[in-house]
């Protein structure tokens, strides 16, 4: 011990050297690599724009299985809507079959895949909205960026609402979880009621209609896209008159026209399709999404749908015999070009749908004969373009059904609109869904909330009735 005491000074000095040597190599003062800190991701308009593209990118590639918006959601809703059925590689997976038979359970793997993916987009949109709003700038792009992000947030929330919420009942408490700011922790948040859900979504769209850029390209949100989406949402909300007015505004804006040939819509894809209003971009490099392969392996056209198409002029543009793969959906898995392009687009909104929304909304909101005539005219515009005989129906309810059938024919096996039409028509009393597609129960009109979210939130997020 004496030794130490004697040499205490040397000892202390050495200790100091040893300890302070960390200053020489401060290993803990580091920044992450390949990652950007939250505080420095949006510091100017360019950064905000870039982050906005990040949000768009989540439309095409954002879930474990791949592409929730581009593949999974259209895939399962067309299965539910009976235009497609499970493909050759999905036979053993109860998950996919369950949508076809409307028996999806809360623990369904596809739900667990796309549902958080949708909210991931919402969260990123929220980052862009909040952080862009905080920028001190006079750049007009600031408001546009926020408006585009709000459009995407509205689209995403709407997709959740129409699948998992009782969107058809404004008095229902079974709306959806609305996220208005970036996630800072993992706390659960309860579902809003349906009315509030609609209000939140429509507010976002109103902002987009006001501030989004004018239409210039189909791959980004625009005022026109916001109007079109709002029109569609109002149709779901049963505010038919407004829906019809907005649809008409989009059609008559002249910004988009119908593609002269139906088949060209799916030939042109993102290559200047005249009637697309909002669709996803893709390329075979970084924006590659494999949609064609998915539609080849996991989905094929249903027998019902083929039969319905059998005396329609669009048959050849939609149906192809894929041999081993069954009946191929040519919209996305065209055997003639399947091997060249394996990516594909998702047509969120195209003009043909606006004609049919206009027709239906008009029929439901306006009792006049003029309305029937206009509505029939809108349907016939679509039929004429397809090369089909024109309708002469004069009965409102017959025509309503004709609109639904036309939607099936025109937009079937595309984005699943046919399923939501079935639900809406059923709820409006226009048809009994069970005569077309027997459901295990009325509860199956909407999908269950994902089991995980209900369980982990300790029922703060409540399950849908009947599940």
């Amino acid at each position: 011990m004496n030794y130490i005491i004697k040499n205490i000074r040397i000892f202390t000095a050495l200790l100091a050297i040893t300890i302070t040597s960390c200053e020489v190599v401060d290993v803990t003062d580091i920044q992450p690599v390949f990652q950007i800190d939250e505080g420095s991701v949006i510091t100017d308009i360019d950064g905000a724009d870039r982050a906005l593209k990040g949000v768009y990118s989540l439309l095409i590639n954002n879930s474990q299985f791949g592409q929730a918006f581009v593949v999974t959601l259209p895939g399962i809703t067309t299965n539910m809507g009976l235009t497609q059925k499970p493909g050759v590689f999905s036979g053993s997976s109860a998950n996919e079959v369950d949508f076809f038979t409307n028996e999806a359970k809360p623990d369904n793997g596809y739900i667990a895949d796309y549902y958080p993916a949708i909210y991931k987009l919402i969260n990123n949109a929220n980052h862009v909205i909040e952080k862009t709003a905080n920028l001190q700038t006079d750049d007009p792009r600031q408001e546009e960026i926020i408006a585009e992000a709000k459009f995407l947030r509205a689209l995403a929330h709407f997709y959740v609402l129409r699948l998992h919420g009782e969107f058809f009942d404004l008095d229902s408490s079974y709306g959806i979880v609305l996220k208005s700011s970036p996630v800072a922790n993992s706390d659960a948040q309860p579902r809003a009621n349906v009315a509030d859900s609609y209000e939140f979504i429509l507010n976002d769209l109103d902002d987009a209609i006001l501030n989004a850029p004018n239409f210039s390209t189909t791959i980004y949100a625009s005022k026109l896209a916001a109007k079109a989406l709002k029109s569609k949402i109002l149709l779901y909300k049963k505010e038919y008159a407004q829906a019809a007015a907005l649809a008409d505004e989009v059609i008559t804006s002249g910004l988009r026209t119908l593609e002269p040939e139906f088949a060209d819509v799916f030939e042109k894809k993102i290559n200047n399709p005249l009637e697309a209003i909002f669709q996803t971009n893709y390329d075979d490099f970084n924006e590659f999404n494999n949609k064609q392969a998915y539609f080849l392996f996991f989905y094929q056209l249903s027998d019902d749908y083929k039969e319905l198409l059998s005396d329609d002029a669009r048959y050849d543009a939609i149906v192809a015999n894929g041999g081993f793969y069954g009946s191929i959906n040519k919209k996305f898995a065209n055997p003639e070009n399947i091997n060249q392009r394996r990516s594909d687009t998702e047509y969120f909104l195209r003009l043909a749908e606006m004609y049919l929304i206009h027709a239906e909304a008009l029929l439901r909101s306006d009792n006049s004969e003029t309305a029937i005539t206009i509505a029939r005219g809108q349907v016939n515009t679509i039929r004429e373009r397809a090369g089909n005989p024109l309708l002469t129906t004069t009965d409102r309810f017959d025509l309503l059904e004709e609109v639904r059938i036309e939607k099936l024919l025109e937009l079937g096996a595309e984005s699943g609109e046919e399923w939501f039409d079935l639900v809406r028509y059923h709820k409006e009393g226009n048809l009994d869904i069970n005569t077309i597609k027997p459901l295990p129960s009325e509860a199956n009109l909407i999908l269950p909330m994902p089991q995980r979210t209900v369980l982990v939130s300790n029922n703060v997020v409540v399950q849908n009735p009947g599940y």
Partner: protein, 1110 residues
């Protein structure tokens, strides 16, 4: 109680009784007969037949046998007396006794009935002698710090810097000179006052030195739990990678070799699994440089990369390794703080010896390997066709036409396993030159190794080149050195071919008549083996260290090390591949480039001193580590040809992704060892770690530990217990941590790589948990170490209890966050068990020796508490590696039973839509009338209840045979091979002969389900049908070696030559029906332990080697 194993007791039983009686009398006797002993004794003479060296006791025996005299003396009086050299001839008893018993030390009197009484002479007991001298090694170098101890006491001194010592000692006492790594010497003090001692190197005693973190310690002074690996045994096994040779070598260390893939790495678990998210491999310290398997990242990332990374362990040539020490308890490991929860393995490579001259070692080895079972285990073509036919018919589907099913006709019968198999062949060369300069101040060891292994599957293999240099030099009080280790290895071939071959359609030919490979919708497995699939690993590690002796007892050491590992994986699937043809892909290339860089700056100050009976060693230090990984993955598709223009720049489509991490760890540590009289030991260790993996509030982690040990054998009350040589009881308690998971989980970060409209945008992808902190493991360890019966039996028995709390689990979170899960400190996990080790020198004489050693461990692991979170299939009360699945309760025999069950089910069906007679009936565990995942039960666990190893070494002259058995009890395996053998999914999957006994209406007495196309009942679902008990006893290795006669070799200028034949994986006793119960196809995955996917079955290896020393 007294045992003697070497010496045969020269006393008969009667004699013992007599002696006891006599001793009794002697002790009671108060009268000593004062006869002139010399006169009487001088008259009697004894005859010595020939020259011999005998013990004092034996001298007395000679006298007893030849004269009328008997002896009476305390039993242990001559226990430590030097032996006596007897000359041939006749000698008087008196002279003989004078010669035998040192002068003035004993009082000899002649008692009644010619009884000679011998007593210790009390008067001369305290004569002190002052002895000085110098201790050197065989080359004349002083050995400072040599302890010189008076035998039987705790008094002693230490040699100074020049090796000089000085000690006061009584006459006839014995001095013990000991120095780490040298043979201890005992010298009896006579009249001399100067004793110079030369201590020779001793391999045996070397093993008694244990390398602990930032230092070394004598085995006997260790307070923690440290296992030393028997490197001789490891060398006998002639392993390619060091991890495979650790099987069965140390208690508490469970090693599960991956599979037969050349170059594959094993899973090593020290005292069980501690982390769910983190990976559970121990921390390796290779020549002082920490190497984390999985590069310190999470298990998920370790797992994803495990097929594109070579284990850093594969980079070390086992022949370069001198010692392996495994640190297990908290006291031993806490010096490594936050990374030590999984234990620490310290590997030290060879250093040059202070011989003053170079020593050259040349090892040459060749091995052949083959699969453990080469019998055909798949159906032949005819059987296969019958099964396919049945598969369709059983589900009432029309059997497709032959053109569809058998495009090459029905007559072809290809044994795909045979087609891809071959006899593996390994060549291994190793050259080492080591030694020191003439002045012995500079030590060096240079080595190079070359390994070329051809696998048992075509086009698989492992190549490795290693170059290593270790040089150090001394300049007075300053010592510095440098280690360089470079290696390049290449793993060839994918590991999946075997299972593909087992179920590939046998009616497909290897080649069709045009010479094109036969194929179905997928290319055949043989074709796959021909595709380029390489994993290239380059590893460079450099260490520079300097030591300065500041004062007599104070040593400053500083070292800087850098380690760089690059893994480059390349796979190319050519355009001719069946799938690529279908998708019209003109070739696809995948290149993964992972680079890991680690820089470590260590400073330690060691103080070492002794004050009387107090001995203290203290260490303080700091360590700064910075780690970074960079991963670039390139996917390229569409090449103009399949041979030349195959590089990313030539591709039509190209995707590049980058990832990487950087983390820093600043650490400060202290350790103090104190021992009192070599009886009571105290150790305190503490480490503080600051890691960037955690948020600003939780960066620091503190890891203290304490240990005490008590050497009972040094206590006076144990002095009479002769059969105990050494007995030590030790206990420790302390805390260590785990932090091997992804960096930066505490905040929201955005990463690029998300493209839209040609623009790369940032996306927030982690749901932050600002409160994330260290996982910590508290461990208690109690053990008894023993050496018994003249050092012939030694070992330890111990208990440990490890509790890991704040375990980081990827807790599921509400989906509305946009994420699936998030890291949370939430779980509690427990590992407890017993470890037992015993080594016995069973027999030893000049020619024949037999030693044996057995180690055994019993470990129980379980998840104590999930605290509301859940992760994968983790369940409270079960271990991580539990298998959950359906339970088969029988086979449905009639439709009525199925109908009844379906009717009762709320979903309309009991277990599947397509259930029919002949299908498995699964258990409805929860009684809800239907079978789904909620009915899954625990079907067993991958880790064994008890495991261990048993080694035996027999040597006879120059011939040596050593064997290693390892065993495992209570482990189960998910046998996916069995799934392929007994069930069929579609027409393109072959099965095994077992399926021929499948259920049919005629063959109902079977446990094999019916054959059904696309398996409508889900008979292939994960169930206990595929889970098998895999307890085993295996002859892991046998080695037969012959050491050539050194006289013979001298003429050839060879100092040592040894030839050996070694066999690995020779036979196994097990009920497991797969190839090998010792299998782990996904060593990196915590949740896939014990899965046998038959990716690359284990192999049997025979090696023939020659070791030469010049």
């Amino acid at each position: 109680m007294e045992f003697k194993l070497t010496k045969i007791h020269f006393l008969s039983k009667k004699w013992i009784l007599l002696t006891i009686m006599r001793t009794f009398i002697f002790l009671l006797c108060t009268t000593v007969f004062g006869l002139n002993t010399n006169i009487g004794l001088a008259q009697e003479k004894v005859k010595i037949e020939h020259d011999k060296i005998v013990s004092v006791d034996e001298v007395f025996e000679i006298i007893i046998n030849q004269t009328k005299y008997s002896f009476l003396y305390p039993t242990d009086l001559f226990k430590d007396a030097p032996k006596v050299k007897l000359k041939k001839g006749v000698i008087s008893v008196n002279d003989l006794l004078q010669q035998t018993l040192p002068e003035n030390k004993f009082n000899i009197t002649l008692g009644l009935q010619n009884r000679i009484l011998i007593k210790k002479n009390a008067e001369i007991k305290n004569v002190q002698q002052s002895i000085t001298g110098k201790v050197t090694d065989s080359s004349g170098d002083p050995l400072p710090g040599t302890t010189i101890r008076i035998k039987g006491t705790n008094k002693g001194v230490e040699a100074n810097f020049d090796g000089n010592y000085s000690i006061e000692v009584e006459l006839n006492k014995i001095l013990i000179f000991s120095y780490v790594g040298k043979k201890s010497r005992e010298i009896t003090i006579g009249n001399e006052t100067t004793i110079d001692v030369i201590l020779e190197d001793d391999d045996e005693s070397l093993q008694e030195v244990v390398i602990i973190g930032y230092g070394s310690q004598k085995r006997k002074d260790i307070t923690g739990s440290v296992s030393k690996v028997d490197m001789v045994g490891v060398a006998n096994q002639a392993p390619i990678n060091i991890d495979e040779a650790l099987v069965g070598r140390a208690p508490g260390v469970f090693v599960l070799p991956a599979n037969g893939t050349p170059g594959s790495s094993a899973a090593i678990r020290i005292r069980g699994t501690t982390s769910v998210v983190g990976n559970n491999e121990p921390l390796y310290i290779i020549d002082g440089v920490p190497v984390e398997i999985g590069f310190g990242e999470s298990n998920a990332s370790f797992q994803t990369n495990s097929f594109s990374q070579t284990s850093p362990l594969a980079a070390i040539n086992p022949q370069d390794i001198e010692t392996i020490d495994i640190l297990k308890d908290a006291s031993a490991t806490a010096i490594y703080g936050s990374r030590a929860s999984n234990g620490v393995v310290i590997i030290t490579t060879k250093t040059g010896k202070k011989t003053g001259e170079p020593s050259v070692t040349l090892n040459v080895k060749t091995s052949v390997t083959n699969f453990l079972n080469n019998e055909r285990r798949t159906l032949n073509s005819e059987q296969y066709q019958a099964v396919v036919q049945q598969a369709y018919e059983n589900v009432n589907l029309p059997v497709p036409s032959d053109a569809v099913l058998y495009p090459y006709g029905r007559d072809i019968d290809t044994d795909w396993v045979d087609a891809i198999s071959q006899v593996g062949y390994t060549k291994d060369y190793y050259l080492n030159i080591g030694g020191s300069t003439k002045n012995r101040e500079t030590l060096y060891s240079l080595s190079a190794g070359l390994l070329d292994q051809t696998g048992t599957i075509h086009n698989t293999g492992f190549e490795r080149q290693t170059v290593r240099s270790k040089v150090e030099t001394k300049l007075g009080k300053f010592r510095m050195g440098m280690n360089i280790n470079y290696n390049n290895s290449k793993q060839l071939g994918n590991t999946q071919f075997y299972s593909t071959a087992t179920f590939y359609n046998p009616t497909i030919p290897l080649y069709d008549e045009n010479g094109n490979p036969g194929q179905t919708r997928a290319s055949n497995p043989y074709t796959y083996t021909t595709y380029k699939n390489e994993l290239d690993n380059t590893n460079l590690s450099l260490t520079l260290f300097a030591e300065l002796t500041l004062a007599k007892n104070l040593l400053l050491k500083t070292s800087y090390a850098t380690n760089r590992i690059e893994n480059l994986s390349t796979t190319y699937i050519p355009s001719t591949n069946a799938l690529n043809i279908q998708f019209n892909i003109a070739g696809s290339l995948n290149i993964g480039d992972n680079t890991y860089t680690s820089k470590i700056f260590d400073n330690t100050l060691t103080y070492n001193n002794q004050f009387g009976n107090h001995r203290i060693t203290a260490l303080i230090g700091s360590s700064h580590t910075s780690n970074s990984t960079e991963k670039t993955h390139t996917t390229a598709e569409g090449f103009p040809d399949d041979t030349v223009s195959v590089y990313p720049g030539a591709a039509d489509f190209l995707t590049i992704t980058n990832a990487g991490t950087v983390s820093g760890l600043a650490s400060y540590f202290i350790r103090a060892n104190y021992n009192l009289s070599h009886k009571y030991y105290f150790t305190f260790t503490g480490r503080a770690d600051k890691s960037t993996k955690f948020g600003p509030n939780n960066r620091w982690g503190y890891f203290p530990s304490g240990a005490i040990a008590w050497r009972l054998s040094n206590e006076s009350f144990m002095e009479d217990v002769d059969f105990v040589n050494d007995l030590k009881l030790r206990a420790s308690y302390g805390k260590t941590g785990t932090a091997n998971f992804d960096d930066f989980q505490y905040s929201t970060f955005f990463s690029l790589g998300n493209y839209y409209g040609g623009i790369n945008g940032p996306v927030a992808n982690v749901i932050p948990n600002p409160d994330i902190k260290w996982e910590s493991t508290n461990q208690i360890d109690i053990a008894l170490e023993y050496t018994l019966l003249d050092q012939r039996i030694s070992g330890s028995i111990g208990y440990f209890n490890k509790k890991t709390s704040n375990q980081i689990l990827l807790r599921d979170i509400v989906f509305e966050t946009g994420g699936n899960n998030q890291f949370f400190n939430i779980g509690d996990f427990s590992n407890k068990g017993f470890e037992f080790l015993v080594g016995v020198d069973v027999y030893r004489d000049t020619k024949f020796k037999w030693t044996t050693s057995l180690n055994l461990s019993a470990i129980r692991s379980k998840m104590l508490n999930l605290n509301g979170a859940y992760f994968e299939n983790l369940r409270e009360g079960d271990p991580i590696d539990a298998f959950y699945g359906a339970k088969v309760v029988g086979i449905f025999q009639d439709q009525a039973e199925i109908d009844a069950l379906n009717a009762a089910s709320p979903t309309g069906y009991y277990q599947a839509y397509g259930t029919a007679p002949g299908d498995f009936k699964f258990q409805d565990t929860n009684g809800d009338n239907k079978v789904d995942i909620t009915d899954n039960v625990n079907l067993g666990q991958a880790a064994p209840d008890v495991f261990g190893g048993w080694t035996n070494t027999f040597s006879y002259g120059n011939l040596q045979v050593s064997t290693l058995f390892n065993f495992s009890v209570g482990n189960t395996i998910a046998n996916f091979g069995r799934r392929n053998e007994f069930t069929i999914s579609d027409e393109n999957t072959n099965s095994g002969p077992g399926i021929l006994n499948a259920w049919t209406p005629e063959n109902t007495d079977t446990d094999i389900p019916r054959i059904a196309y696309r398996d409508p009942n889900g008979n292939r679902r994960f169930s206990d049908f595929f889970i098998e008990d895999a307890s085993f006893l295996k002859l892991k290795n046998i080695n037969i070696s012959y050491q050539f006669d050194s006289n013979l070799l001298k003429k050839l200028a060879i100092s040592n030559a040894r030839i050996f034949l070694s066999g690995t994986n020779l036979f196994t006793i097990t009920s497991y029906s797969g190839f090998d119960p010792e299998i782990n196809d996904e060593p990196a995955n915590n949740f896939q332990q014990g899965y046998d996917y038959q990716r690359y079955p284990s192999v049997r290896t025979f090696s023939l080697g020659l070791n030469l020393n010049f």
